[in-house]
Point group: C2
Chain length 338, copies 2
């Protein structure tokens, strides 16, 4: 089979790889129908996370089951499935509490920017669609694997509720998907912090009611202006930098909720500021598996269309261009079709 | 009147002060029936928070209303009342959400280690007992003003629920009161981290089921041993140091809850560690006012006895000895009777 391999900063190659095989009775092999490039892939691509050896890339996937191990019961060859970037048993105490991305048996699923993929713990990781999907639903179904699932977690972790005011910090694909989630959860007002006209437009289409282009202290002051001086009920930090995190914490009202769903890079929180901010803080790797059934239902019934975050569609063999376009911010998110 | 004034590190004096007066129509003047020394007073007493001018001390109080301003409706002279260390209007949006200690009109109530005290925003701050209390209830009623209210918030903010496993980090008066709160909220297992035999004994009396004397990595390992390797559902950090905070975060399971209720001193949180810990984090100055009615009811009906945290009882004019005894850890908490 063929797949994307990162050799070093800026150096993604599409090359011949060994075919995946069933290694454990709980594995499944799927034929990738669509994959994509994640914002978090760019930390590696840009050399911010050092790459020490050639690394098969990609962790967002959907596809057709080709083969399953002898212990797999819930999915079967021929089904269209979506899974999370963390494989989970979905039976341990942590999974039971809805934190499948911290499952005691979790395994990272890497190498999804390829024609085929081995998924461990298939029963606890993969969810099948009701039927084979029509082509136009495939981009949206793919987003559920990570970007939409992560946006959903951002809204869930920030306790978004009907009638509340929500701020989304970050207009990347996760932030845009977080707008979709906040809208679904009934938020009355959804403020996105964005300076990019194309992303602002998509945010409005997804349900944003206000746009704040200011950042830092000015951005915070603008949010206070929009919320009777109090701050928002829920603030969703979808970037992972110190500036974004502090902007999020300072934009929330006392007793409010701040979520953070992008891996923090260089973020340090001052205990005393956090104490007097009086906010709830929750985040981490999104437990996508928890939300998959509900999200699949919403996409299947065309209630949400997160596939619109893909503004670049490429054949999988042009994966390197997908990385370049996203790294240069020419594209929000690149869809890759084998 | 007379009251305690801090002049500098280790220098508390009991001296003649101006009588408090009604300054605003929303004020009340109360005659202090009992006051005490707070763990947080020790930050000033030890010079860790610099004292720049002679400062009247004390923020935990209960007493008899002497006089009220013309706008005060809910309390009247002759009633026995308890209030929080932050005065609140109890009507703003933040109070409505239960965060009275971040009320938009909040004022810190200082100078309670005295014979009389002015309490601002009396209607939103003070809660009267059903009747004049018997003497033996006074210590417990006094704790509701801060230490028990703060322990209650620790348990509430860490989402303590029936059947869950709770860890309390810190065996000071707040930690011990947090044990009482966790027990009231139905925790099945309450583990306190303590090395002090007298405090361990009191913790057991309050409802602790397990004692862990180890600290740091060893303490965390011991908690994991006691929780099937997963960590606790709820961890209540009742100290305010970096060591205690990290011990708390690392003792919680993914998806678990960590609260912190002591003003953090020198605490810095690494964003990436917090992200992968996958915990909920919430804390800040305890919104005591939210819990006062329920806590008064529990004390009044002798369901809880937090007054036991006072292991030193002094006449108010010996307040300096109260500070010394607590600073030297000879006493858990000093009760002061005018």
């Amino acid at each position: 089979m063929k797949g994307a391999v990162l050799y070093g900063p800026g150096d993604v190659r599409f090359e011949e790889l060994d075919d995946p095989k069933i290694l454990k009775p709980t594995d499944a092999i799927i034929q990738i129908v669509a994959a994509c490039v994640c914002g978090s892939d760019l930390w590696d691509y840009r050399g911010i996370n050092p790459v020490t050896q050639p690394t098969p890339m990609g962790h967002e996937y959907c596809g057709i089951v080709e083969e399953v191990g002898s212990a797999v019961k819930s999915v079967k060859p021929g089904q269209f499935v979506i899974g999370s970037f963390f494989a989970s048993d979905n039976t341990c105490a942590i999974c039971h509490d809805g934190y499948q991305s911290s499952c005691v048996h979790r395994e990272f699923v890497g190498g999804a920017q390829a024609t085929r993929l081995r998924v461990p713990l298939a029963d606890g990781t993969l969810v099948a669609t009701p039927d084979l999907p029509p082509d136009d639903l495939i981009p949206s179904l793919l987003t559920l694997s990570d970007v939409m699932g992560t946006g959903w977690f951002a809204a869930d972790a920030a306790n978004v509720k009907p009638g509340k005011t929500v701020v989304v910090v970050g207009d990347g694909a996760v932030g845009l998907c977080a707008v979709i989630a906040a809208k679904q959860m009934g938020a009355e007002r959804i403020i996105i912090m964005s300076r990019n006209p194309a992303r602002q437009k998509l945010a409005r289409e997804f349900g944003a009611t206000d746009i704040v282009p200011d950042r830092g202290d000015e951005g915070v002051a603008r949010i206070k202006d929009l919320t009777d001086g109090l701050g928002a009920h829920s603030v969703l930090e979808c970037v992972g930098t110190q500036e974004a995190m502090m902007q999020a914490i300072r934009s929330a009202r006392p007793g409010g909720y701040v979520s953070y769903v992008g891996v923090p890079h260089g973020v340090e929180l001052d205990g005393q500021e956090l104490f007097f901010a009086h906010v709830h803080l929750h985040g981490g790797p999104a437990p996508v598996r928890r939300f998959l059934p509900e999200m699949i239902d919403l996409v299947w019934n065309r209630k949400i269309n997160p596939g619109k975050v893909f503004d670049l569609r490429l054949p999988l063999d042009q994966v390197a261009e997908g990385y370049r376009a996203m790294s240069e911010r020419r594209a929000i998110k690149a869809l890759l079709i084998p």
